[in-house]
Symmetry: C2
Subunit: 314 residues, 2 copies
């Protein structure tokens, strides 16, 4: 059971190795949304995503004995890159199991951080089989991208920093995929201010968190189809109960809404965000009646896009 004190301890643990990312504001986007927005820029985090927080916390929490055997994960990319980088801090072996159709940028980043890569088919079963085989051979510790309390507390440190600087926010929105970021954010936010509402933002094409939230139990996606490649995971068995208890609602967004918000952020804020990040702004723009006139924190989760494959019509 994660509590705010765990998130504070994780923050002390990882602080020397992560950026305290800036919180930016934009007059233009405040005008467009008729609200007051505070963007926590995890796209400017080390390795380009909030994932550095959870991964670093997990690695630094390992016993020396476990650490020596190395770590392994499956990942669509950002978590893998972050874990590889965090493993370097401690000088331990790290293996990343990645679908062969992951983006070139992500492959290169992970190689550059010194990880071994094992490629697999994009399907869940193939990933799990490769993972089990590697663990049996090496004794490595599996660091799941989100369904792990060490990861949840680590990801919660972004919300902690946001609330330290702006404790009176009316609401905070984070993207939701497996739920590591959203559950950690919710625990951090509610731990500091019970009055602050927390929302998730999720693509229509991978809306298991939304449907599970409505039903009160996990209902997996049958298919997944979204440009937001960081949001294709299934909600987790550890993250979901935290979300159910601490989150006010989940907003679902179309592909067009996601890409339009991405372009707005690029043009107005001059920062690079991936579609999985811009979805949180898209939620504010869609649910005007909820956020109008309010002070809302937005977790911009990452900025790892392939500049050769931009989704803008140009």
């Amino acid at each position: 059971m994660v509590i705010i004190q765990d998130i504070r301890e994780a923050h002390e643990r990882i602080k020397p190795y992560i950026h305290r990312t800036p919180i930016l504001t934009s007059t233009a986007l405040n005008e467009i949304s008729s609200s007051s927005l505070f963007f926590k820029c995890e796209n400017l985090q080390k390795a380009g995503a909030f994932k550095a927080r959870g991964a670093t916390n997990a690695i630094l929490s390992l016993s020396d004995e476990d650490a020596a055997k190395g770590v392994v994960t499956t990942s669509s990319g950002n978590h893998g890159a972050a874990l590889a980088k965090a493993a370097q801090i401690r000088g331990i072996p790290v293996t990343v199991i990645m679908p062969h159709d992951s983006s070139k940028v992500k492959f290169e980043a992970i190689k550059e951080y010194g990880a071994d890569i094992i490629t697999c088919e994009p399907q869940h079963d193939s990933r799990e089989a490769s993972l089990e085989k590697h663990v049996a051979e090496t004794g490595a510790t599996v660091i799941h991208p989100y369904n792990d309390e060490r990861i949840i507390t680590g990801q919660g440190t972004a919300g902690l920093e946001l609330m330290e600087d702006h404790p009176d926010l009316d609401a905070v929105i984070a993207p939701v995929s497996g739920g590591g970021l959203l559950s950690g954010t919710a625990l951090a936010v509610k731990g500091i201010n019970q009055e602050t509402k927390v929302y998730g933002a999720e693509p229509d094409g991978a809306d298991d968190a939304y449907r599970s939230f409505q039903a009160g139990k996990i209902i997996p996606n049958a298919t997944v189809n979204t440009i937001a490649d960081g949001l294709r995971a299934q909600i987790g068995t550890i993250t979901f109960p935290i979300i159910l208890e601490n989150v006010e609602g989940i907003v679902t967004l179309t592909e067009t809404e996601i890409v339009d918000a991405m372009r707005l952020i690029w043009e107005r804020m001059k920062i690079i965000v991936e579609p999985s990040s811009s979805i949180a702004l898209a939620a504010v723009l869609k649910e005007k009646s909820t956020f109008e006139g309010k002070q809302t924190g937005i977790i911009l989760s990452g900025g790892n896009v392939d500049l050769g494959k931009l989704p803008f019509e140009i």
Copy 2:
């Protein structure tokens, strides 16, 4: 004669209306450059460029009588947008005279900030003729983009903020075009730490500041040819003597070096900079022997690029 006290006063004057922009660091770019870089992110400034600083200072320095008649400027874009926005603060008329071939993004920004636009031919003479005609008709005050002490002191406030946070920098690099940013930066930097060296970065295709600096007198460009559209102006009669006295050197860069540095910043720092900004990083990468092992501040001047016209080979 501008002194550090003028820059401090300008800073107090404009502080409520500008962002104190973040100073970002990047482990990846430190490794690539074998140095320690501190990026002052004026691309994240209001209206997307440092120009907001000088323009706001100039507008707020006007007498009520002059302010009522409005202001006018010629500009390739960023200064025009910044002046329009600053005029809105004071609620006074503003006219921008722009070459008809300026980018769509820049036209739209200026219109959105409520300025009247008069288009002219790209040549210097056409701009000046349009300007004189407008002043004769309206009595508006001309706010030159750089050759004006109010502008120089305003632009110097970015360097002031950088040095307030990092007073022991070995060097600071700023792009140079008309010289407003470089002269203001040099005065701010030297006013706080005489030991800190200041450099300008300029495109090979518009290298009048470099040639003038070598010769000790202004030698204008015969032709101008560079992707860095914010760096096409001629060095000014007021800015040049300040640069000659306070700047250690000017580094010139090829178009390829400018675009390569731009891509590095986009990919590694996840922020959007225009070619006129990335040139300062290009200078660090080119002059390795000067900057290696040093702590160097880099003024990233702006981020106003047309997302439909990116210079990357994709």
